[in-house]
């Protein structure tokens, strides 16, 4: 029995319980005295019963799926003899993985016969154990909900109880956000710590050379691989700066025009058009950067006899800048529109022109908000992946020249983790070390930016 049939069964049972519970409550109510009716509507009694079916089964099912790998190991180890374990090259967990990966119908030729037998045994036992467990969970749920139906009586206020449970369920749903954050932090820290066991933190943060190729054999040349992340950080910084030099002027001037000069009509047309830029998937920008902008810049360089790499930082950075424009323009548009009218009126009354008002009154007043918007955009640019994966280089290159190819943190994470992964090599773990650096940096930027924007808003409210 799989999860699918389990869900179907539980829905059927729930429908039955709703019907039965409603009927039962109505019957009880009917038999009662006029002065002593049930305090809640019948549906609350059946709802109460369903809660007793659903909540325990959900918890138990989750527990089962979390415990399943352990149970798998136990089944395999209980079947395999001591002899096979000692003969197997590698430790027991590798043996268990090997057994799990055997395809029973068509085993790989030359597979150990004992292992195939173990795999067959594993499959049969697992099916039996799973069916048994799922049926057990179901019958427990049914039992609990029938007890709940038995409780229907005038003394039992079902609505209050059901509402209390519902609030608890809603609370659990909102805690998912916290759980996700904790999950991110722990998964990153845990793997990153394993990385820093192999490579010292100092070498990672301040090393000048990045070449994560680890040797497969001990005696290979360059077997050590170096993990100095400075070239990557520098590349990320370079591309971010290029993106910002494109995005800040265009975004800011657009925002000024939209909030101060445009008529409501133009504004209502142009704003959604700019928002389209934010809705275009990043993979599309990446394609555009790699196929159109990269070759165009290369050709342009040839005209001026400049040597521009086809994966230059300039191509990736400028396209990323285009992507960032709407973030800056719409956020700074908001903050500039929020500057109180009386400040502007004061400036006009003194005879200032519109541009003078913008430059001398509105921009200074809105500056914290604009800075916040720019910081949010920077964090967006630093974490952007697809554009740089498709249009920037892979080799770590410590340079400040925008015409050369550089690499970024996100590109490295992707290249380190795509393909075969050995989860004990420094090469794959390095991706998590880069990941936590990225997470911390963007988190700082976001917290700081949100704080600025928040403070600024309070000032004028």
């Amino acid at each position: 029995m799989g999860l699918g049939s389990f869900c179907v069964l539980i829905i059927l049972i729930a429908t039955f319980i709703t019907w039965y519970g409603n009927n039962k409550a109505l019957r009880v109510n009917h038999a009662l005295d006029k002065d002593l009716k049930l305090p809640s509507l019948p549906k609350y009694y059946s709802f109460y019963a369903i809660l007793w079916l659903i909540i325990p089964s959900t918890i138990l099912i989750l527990t089962w799926y979390i415990a399943k790998p352990l149970i798998l190991d136990a089944i395999v180890l209980s079947f395999i003899s001591e002899n096979t374990i000692t003969n197997f090259p590698g430790n027991t967990s590798m043996l268990v993985d090997r057994v799990k990966s055997i395809n029973i119908e068509r085993p790989f030729p030359g597979t150990d016969k004992n292992l195939i037998e173990a795999a067959v045994y594993l499959k049969q036992t697992l099916e039996r154990v799973q069916t048994f467990t799922l049926l057990g969970i179901l019958s427990l749920g049914c039992f609990l909900s029938f007890i709940a139906i038995k409780k229907i009586a005038p003394a039992f206020r079902a609505r209050q109880v059901v509402e209390k449970y519902n609030v608890a369920i809603l609370l659990v749903c909102s805690v998912v956000a916290i759980v996700t954050t904790i999950g991110i932090v722990f998964s990153l820290i845990f793997e990153a710590l394993r990385f820093f066991d192999k490579i010292p933190l100092f070498d990672f943060l301040f090393g000048l050379s990045w070449s994560p190729q680890m040797a497969i054999r001990e005696d290979q040349v360059a077997s050590q691989g170096s993990f100095g992340a400075i070239p990557i950080f520098a590349g990320t910084l370079l591309i971010t700066i290029i993106a910002m030099t494109v995005a800040i002027p265009v975004g800011l001037t657009s925002a000024i025009f939209l909030s101060q000069y445009a008529s409501p009509m133009t504004r209502s047309i142009i704003k959604p058009i700019l928002e389209i830029l934010a809705g275009v998937p990043t993979v599309v920008y990446g394609f555009f950067a790699a196929i159109t902008v990269g070759p165009f810049l290369k050709g342009l360089g040839d005209v001026f006899s400049l040597n521009i790499a086809s994966e230059s930082a300039l191509a990736a950075g400028s396209v990323m800048g285009i992507m960032i424009i709407p973030f800056i323009s719409s956020l700074s548009d908001d903050v500039m529109s929020a500057v109180p009218q009386n400040l502007k009126d004061g400036s006009y009354a003194m005879g200032a022109t519109k541009s003078e008002t913008v430059k001398k009154v509105i921009l200074p007043a809105a500056l914290p908000g604009i800075v916040g918007a720019i910081l949010l955009a920077v964090s967006r640019a630093v974490g952007e992946t697809m554009i740089v994966v498709m249009a920037a280089g892979i080799a770590a290159n410590l340079t400040a020249n925008p015409l050369e190819a550089v690499t970024t943190v996100t590109v490295q994470i992707v290249t380190l983790l795509i393909g075969d992964q050995e989860f004990d090599s420094a090469k794959t773990l390095a991706a998590f070390a880069l990941g936590i650096t990225l997470f911390v940096v963007t988190l700082m930027l976001n917290l700081f930016a949100l704080r600025i924007v928040h403070k600024y808003r309070e000032k004028y409210e």
């Binding site: 809603l170 793997e191 058009i273 830029l277 790699a290 964090s379 697809m386």
Partner: protein, 425 residues
Amino acid sequence: MNKNTRIIAKSLKKRNRSESTFRLMGLLGIISAISFLVIILFSIINEGKKAFVSTQIKLDIFFDSKILDPGNSGKITEIENANYQTLIKASLLNFFPDVKTRNDQRDLLSMISSSEQENLMRTLTNDISLMNTKKEFWLKSSSKYDVINKNPEMIDFAEEDRLISNQQLFWFNELKKDNRVKFGFNKIFFTAADSTEPEQAGIWGSVMGSFFTLFVTLLLSFPIAVAAGVFLEELAPKNRFTHFIEVNINNLAAVPSIIFGLLGLAIFLNVMHLPRSAPLVGGMVLALMTLPTIIIATRASLKAVPPSIREAAIGMGATKMQTVTHHVLPLSMPGISTGTIIGMSQALGESAPLLMIGMVAFIVDVPESFLDSSTVLPVQIYLWKSTAARGFVELTAAGVLVLLTFLILMNSFAVIIRKKFEKKW
């Protein structure tokens, strides 16, 4: 006029000039932003429209029973396993009788896509009476010829840069002169999954992958996000804990998407041992990513419902929970669904986290369930872009067009819902 007014009058011209320059700068900003958008769309449409048609070549195929069924057994299995390449070759040699050497014959045969052999087999086994008859077929050309046919400027390239040799180009032109070459609708692009040959690769596999992934995303994120939004906006006490939840949600909304991919890899794959490349895992990762978007939209549209509705319900004796579920939530549903669709369209365009959990594999079969290995639209675009063969460039652009079409559909649906159902209080 006193001295001051004169100074002002003198400076006025300059100030007015700077005023108009400033205004012009703003206008330039808008124009450049919009022209970026136009350039991007134009260059992609220009490239992508080519992939919707494919070059087809008309050949007279003679279903020779000596080749297909030498034993004259009449068995279908025999005919299914026969060598259909020989039929195509015979037909081509019929047209170009001078081609003698083995190498030349192989070069000639490479003109027709290898997928057509199977199509011929299908045609014949469906209608066995075609045996020993001659029939005209429009066969798909291989990708190299397709590229040349679509980009006529490449004909003038030097032989080594051109994908096909002078000899091959000559044959192709001969066929063209005989009106045997046309553009036909590229059906394979809309029905097949990925392939190593550009002319046999299609988008359908990744569309289905995206569908399964987004289904999981919607199933997980919508209920959880609406529940969280309702709790935080309507029921939660204002205390430190709920404030902490809010800060968390705002931060998650700004965490780079690739970090969610790392989370999926470390927890869903390495700890929970869920299958790699499966839409289930992809959907779970994207659901975590979309949660903040939907929560924020839910809260905004709950906030927009005026307090008078709540007061009226409570005045009639409803409990807080009843007020929310019977009145406030239904009234804010249009806003919530708009936010959900926008969140879903973000998830549809997202690819970075899916690269981390192995949805970047080369998948030849159209996925049929939540556990089949599959890829999604944007990742398919990324995969095609990374492939060297020239024919994939157009496919990539066409994939982008398909993705953009889906996004436009989803967003216009959101706009329609908003326009039609949203109440202004």
